[in-house]
Subunit: 218 residues, 2 copies
Amino acid sequence: MRESASTVVSPAAEAQGQPRINRRQAAKVRTRQKVLDAARGLFAERGYEPATIRDIAKGAGMSTGAVFANFQDKAELFEAVLTEDMAGLADVMKNGAGDGTTRGRLVNALSAGYHGSIDQLPLFQAIVARSWFQPVAAETRQRAATEGLTGVISDILRSGIGAGDLKQDADIALLTELTWDAYLSNYRRAAYDGWSVEQLADHIGRQVDTLLAGVSTR
Amino acid sequence: MRESASTVVSPAAEAQGQPRINRRQAAKVRTRQKVLDAARGLFAERGYEPATIRDIAKGAGMSTGAVFANFQDKAELFEAVLTEDMAGLADVMKNGAGDGTTRGRLVNALSAGYHGSIDQLPLFQAIVARSWFQPVAAETRQRAATEGLTGVISDILRSGIGAGDLKQDADIALLTELTWDAYLSNYRRAAYDGWSVEQLADHIGRQVDTLLAGVSTR
């Protein structure tokens, strides 16, 4: 998206005689982003069901028609927010893993995840809530959007086998699933018990110790 | 509730000269139960937010006023359904544990839980969805309602230490939490992947093996 926005002022594009189209494209991208940001705010504030397209449009300062020109319905809008945010969070986790033992890398990555998402806690809550009660097609798309995140966990575990930290027959899929469930569940402690990022990081560390106890070689 | 309903035909109560009051009480209990059943059906069908008091009243064949005479609002109604169902499920789990190893008892109890709740899967989904996006006070009451369930898990683990199956320093609270998170998360497999109770039971068995690996003495 940033790339097409930048073509507006790109001399190369001007030279190709496409500035008008690119300006229009850029406006479209900006409009889309404005809708996404307004939607993100409202989903975080109210949750999925009570957030209406009418109020999202109002928040973005445009008509509902302008929203519908960009997104077919609320579900598509929600998934666009989710996809954008989960992709960003996967990068944060991946970059947070750093070097060290498998245990250390996993806890670093997950702690970085908490750091990078705690400001969006209510949105995260709305996302998980919705994941429990949505059409199968929406669930399938949501899983695709979170694959980047679970992928970070399974990559670290797989490297752990390669590095000799974990047993060869460690069940990566099962461990990834249990780690992800624990990671997600901890957000409820932040939401309802006021846990800080440090408390979350400490807790996931103890959970990872339990989960890896049977497959650690050291 | 059944006890007070039975007093209607109780000779002892008749002898005390309270049949009219008891009949009225019994009618109130029946009305309350009718509302609860209608609400349970609608929450399961639509989830929490889209289920309206108006439609719950319609489903129960009464006025919204009659519903409000029994429950202050939708949240209270939802919690009453939840409390009733979770208490029943805790009994099912406890009775399902049986004898045997700690691992065996835990897996038996959790499998019994799946058996006893799979018919109510959509309601369960609505409950978990709501648990992610509700006022703190509602969350506190919901935790109290599910304490019976997590209590079954921690009781089995604690007995496991006593029986010498688990190490003395096993962190019961942490293990209970991880087991409960895994147990809950598996419902999504039933909801979206069509997993049978047998598949759920098999899966929680493998998860329990992973969770207990570090604390088993055998």
